[in-house]
C-alpha cells in the first residue's frame, strides 16, 4: 500500500483492524452493553451510583482502547514487504523483529484469501508456500484485492522466469496506481464448476454421513432398549456439531471453480470466505483420486493433492480444503483435471489407463503381472486392465477382496497405484517428483512372497503405497522406478516453467481434450 524507500511497501492500514476485529468488538460489547440496556429501559445512561466512578471507567476503557489501537498501528507500521531481485521479503514485528524471505523460483503455490470481513472492505490476503522458506507459508495481509491480484501476477511472472515485475528495488510503487511494468494477469480458461446441489449430495453421501447414521441409530436403539431418555439429549449437541461441520464443508466447497492459465491451475471456492489458489504447473507432488462407496451411485470422485508447503498448514480443516483439487466430480471432470495436472500422460491411451485405475479389476483368472518382471506397462498384461500389475493370485488369502484391485502401472511420466475395493483409490506420482522409495516386507507378507512399495512424498493427504505386489514385480519396480525418476529429473532441471520447453506451456490449454 504505502510506499517507503527502496521498494519496501506496507500492507493496507485497515488490516490489523480486519484481523483483530474480535478484540475491538469484545471491548465495545463489554463497555457498551450496560449502557445500552439502560437506554432500552429508559433510565439514564449512567445511574447515580455509577456517575462518580464513570470518569475512571471511561479513562480505563479509553486506555485499553488506545493501547489496542496503538498496537495495531505499530504492527501495521512495522509490517513491510518487498518484491524483486528474485525474492519476496516480509518484515514484521516491532519488539521481536522477523524478516522472512522467500525465493520466487521456489514458489509452490499462491493463494488469495478473503475472509468475509476483508471481502466487505475489498481486501485480500496473499499467501504463498515456498519450499525453502522453512515450514511456514509467507502471508501478506491485507492488500486491496486489485493489488493482491497484481502482486500475484508479478510473483508468478518472476517465478516463471518471465519479465521482471514492477516492484524492483529502488523503484517505489505509487499507491493506488499500478506500476507501468505491472505483469498482466495471465488469461485463464474455466474448466469446471461444481454445482451446489452436487456438493450437498456429496456431503450427504460421504463417509462421515454413514458413520453418523449408524451412530444415531445405535443411540436411538439404546435409548429404546434401556428406556433411558438420556441418549436423546446426547443427540442434540452432536447434531448441532454435525450441522456446523456440514455447513463448514459446504461453505468451504461452495462454488468450486477450476480454471487453467499459463500460470497454472486456478481454484476458487468459498461462500462467505473466498479463496483463490494458483498451483503453478508441475508443483503437485502426488495426487489421489478416491471414491467412497456411496459415491459410486452417481459416479463421483474426489481429488486430493500433495503440494510442498500445504501439508504443514496449521489447522486440519484449512489444510484439507487447500489440498483438495476437486471436492466432487464426475469421471469426465476427473479425467480433465488429471490431464491438467499431468499434461503429458506418457501413454497413448490415458483414458483407458485412468479408468482402469479408478474402477478396474484384474481378471479373476490370476495376476496379470505374473511374468511381468519388467515392471513396465507392457508386460504380459491383459489389455482390458489398462496395464495394471496386480497382487499375485497366491496372495489372495491375504487380501481376499482387494487382490485383483491392488496394482500399479507406470506410464512414461507417472506411476499409478490403485487400491481398495469399497473405498477406491488411485494414486498418481509424477516420476520427476519421486523423492525416495522403500520396499517393505513383514513376516506374513514374506510367506506369500509379496512386498509393499512406499513412495515418499512431501507432507499431505496422499501417502502413496503400493500394497502387496509380487516380490519380483516389487523388486523390479524399485529399480525401474529409480531409473525413471532419474531420467525424469534430468529432463527437467529448471524451476522456471516458462523457460522450459514450449510445449509444456501450451499443454494445459489442450489438456481437457484428453478427457
Amino acid at each position: 500500500m504505502t510506499a517507503t524507500g527502496d521498494g519496501w511497501r506496507r500492507v493496507h492500514p485497515a488490516s490489523p483492524f480486519v484481523r483483530g476485529w474480535v478484540a475491538l468488538a469484545a471491548l465495545f460489547f463489554f463497555f457498551g452493553r450496560d449502557a445500552f440496556e439502560r437506554l432500552l429501559r429508559g433510565e439514564p445512561v449512567f445511574d447515580e451510583r455509577f456517575a462518580e466512578r464513570a470518569p475512571w471507567v471511561l479513562i480505563g476503557g479509553s486506555a485499553v482502547l488506545l493501547m489496542i489501537v496503538l498496537g495495531y498501528v505499530l504492527t501495521w507500521y512495522f509490517t513491510r514487504y518487498q518484491v524483486g531481485d528474485g525474492y519476496v521479503r516480509v518484515n514484521t514485528g516491532f519488539l521481536f523483529k522477523q524478516q522472512r524471505q522467500a525465493r520466487l523460483d521456489r514458489v509452490q503455490a499462491i493463494d488469495v484469501v478473503q475472509p468475509l470481513l476483508a471481502r466487505i472492505f475489498g481486501l485480500a490476503e496473499l499467501r504463498f508456500d515456498v519450499a525453502d522458506a522453512g515450514k511456514a507459508a509467507v502471508h501478506l495481509a491485507y492488500l486491496r484485492i486489485g493489488e493482491a491480484k497484481e502482486l500475484r501476477a508479478t510473483i508468478l511472472a518472476q517465478a516463471a522466469g518471465g519479465a521482471p515485475g514492477p516492484a524492483q528495488p529502488g523503484e517505489p510503487g505509487q499507491p493506488g496506481q499500478p506500476a507501468a511494468a505491472a505483469a498482466l494477469e495471465a488469461p485463464e480458461q474455466a474448466v469446471l464448476t461444481v454445482p451446489p446441489s452436487r456438493l450437498a449430495g456429496s456431503l450427504v453421501l460421504s463417509e462421515q454421513s454413514v458413520v453418523i447414521v449408524l451412530g444415531a441409530a445405535a443411540s436411538v436403539l439404546l435409548s429404546a432398549v434401556t428406556e433411558n431418555r438420556g441418549f436423546y439429549f446426547y443427540l442434540i449437541p452432536a447434531g448441532l456439531g454435525l450441522i456446523a461441520a456440514y455447513w463448514k464443508s459446504f461453505t468451504k466447497g461452495y462454488n468450486f471453480t477450476a480454471a487453467v492459465s499459463p500460470d497454472g491451475i486456478r481454484l476458487r471456492y468459498g461462500l462467505l470466505d473466498t479463496q483463490a489458489q494458483t498451483l503453478p504447473p508441475g508443483r503437485i507432488q502426488a495426487l489421489r483420486v478416491s471414491q467412497p462407496p456411496l459415491w459410486r451411485i452417481f459416479g463421483w470422485y474426489r481429488i486430493q493433492v500433495n503440494v510442498a508447503g500445504y501439508g504443514t498448514e496449521g489447522s486440519q480443516g484449512q489444510a484439507s480444503s487447500r489440498t483438495t483439487l476437486l471436492p466432487v466430480g464426475t469421471l469426465p471432470e476427473v479425467l480433465g483435471m488429471l490431464a491438467l495436472v499431468l499434461p503429458d500422460p506418457g501413454t497413448p491411451d490415458p483414458v483407458r489407463v485412468y479408468t482402469a485405475g479408478l474402477n478396474g479389476f484384474a481378471p479373476a483368472a490370476g495376476s496379470a503381472g505374473r511374468a511381468g518382471a519388467s515392471g513396465g506397462p507392457a508386460g504380459s498384461t491383459t489389455p482390458d486392465d489398462g496395464g495394471f500389475v496386480t497382487t499375485p493370485r497366491r496372495a489372495r488369502l491375504l487380501a481376499p477382496l482387494t487382490w485383483r484391485r491392488n496394482g500399479f502401472t507406470a506410464t512414461d511420466t507417472a506411476l499409478l497405484i490403485r487400491s481398495g475395493r469399497w473405498w477406491r483409490h488411485l494414486v498418481l506420482v509424477p516420476h520427476q517428483r519421486t523423492q525416495s522409495m522403500s520396499l517393505q516386507q513383514g513376516p506374513l507378507a514374506r510367506r506369500f512372497a509379496v512386498v509393499d512399495l512406499v513412495l515418499h512424498t512431501t507432507a499431505g493427504p496422499v501417502a502413496p503405497r503400493l500394497i502387496q505386489a509380487g516380490l519380483d514385480e516389487g523388486r523390479a519396480l524399485l529399480d525401474a522406478q529409480a531409473a525413471r525418476a532419474r531420467t525424469a529429473r534430468q529432463r527437467q532441471r529448471s524451476e522456471h516453467w516458462l523457460a522450459r520447453a514450449q510445449h509444456l506451456e501450451h499443454a494445459p490449454t489442450e489438456g481437457p481434450q484428453h478427457a
Partner: protein, 170 residues
C-alpha cells in the same frame, strides 16, 4: 523361516561396524531392564505381603513375560545389526535393515536436501556415528547408524558431493 531378501539382486552391501551391537545393547539394557524392574515391583510387594490383590501367579507371569520378550530382543540384536547395510550406487543410495520386517530404501542423490551426522554418548565413546539423510519428504527416514567416524565423514562428503552434482528441485 526361509528368508528371501527383498533387496535388488547384485548389490554389494557395506555393513555397519560390529561395535554398533554395543550401542544397541546399552539402549536395550536401559529400556528393557527398567521396564522389567518396574513390572517386578508388584511381585515384590505381593511377596512382602504388602499387597494382596494381584494373585501370585499373575505377579510372577507379567515380569516373566516381559523378561522373556526382552531376552528375545536381546538375542535378535546382533542379527539386526548385521542386517543393516548400505550401498552407494551410481545415482542413489540404498539402505536396508530388518530381519522380520525388512525395509530397503532408495534415496536418489539428487533428492537429498542435506546430510546430518550425529553421535550419541555411547556411539561417541565407541568412535561411531550416525549418518542421516534428509529429503523434502518427512517419510524418508534414511539413517545409517553405527558407522565408524572416519567412514561416516567420508560418506557425508561423498553424499554431499554427489548431491551437489545431481541436485534437482523439489
Amino acid at each position: 523361516m526361509r528368508t528371501e531378501a527383498i533387496d535388488p539382486p547384485g548389490v554389494a552391501w557395506l555393513r555397519v561396524s560390529p561395535r554398533y551391537v554395543t550401542v544397541r545393547l546399552v539402549g536395550w539394557a536401559l529400556g528393557n531392564l527398567v521396564a522389567v524392574a518396574v513390572l517386578a515391583l508388584p511381585l515384590i510387594l505381593v511377596l512382602n505381603g504388602a499387597w494382596t490383590w494381584p494373585p501370585l501367579w499373575f505377579a510372577v507371569a507379567v515380569p516373566a513375560a516381559a523378561f522373556l520378550l526382552a531376552l528375545w530382543r536381546l538375542v535378535l540384536i546382533p542379527r539386526q545389526v548385521r542386517s543393516i547395510g548400505y550401498a552407494e550406487r551410481e545415482d542413489d543410495l540404498l539402505i536396508r535393515r530388518g530381519i522380520f520386517f525388512q525395509r530397503t530404501l532408495v534415496v536418489p542423490y539428487g533428492r537429498m536436501q542435506y546430510v546430518d551426522i550425529g553421535a550419541g554418548p555411547v556411539e561417541r565413546w565407541l568412535g561411531l556415528c550416525t549418518v542421516k539423510l534428509h529429503t523434502a519428504s518427512a517419510g524418508t527416514s534414511a539413517e545409517i547408524p553405527g558407522l565408524p567416524a572416519v567412514e561416516g565423514a567420508r560418506l557425508r562428503e561423498q553424499l554431499s558431493a554427489r548431491g551437489e552434482a545431481r541436485l534437482a528441485g523439489l
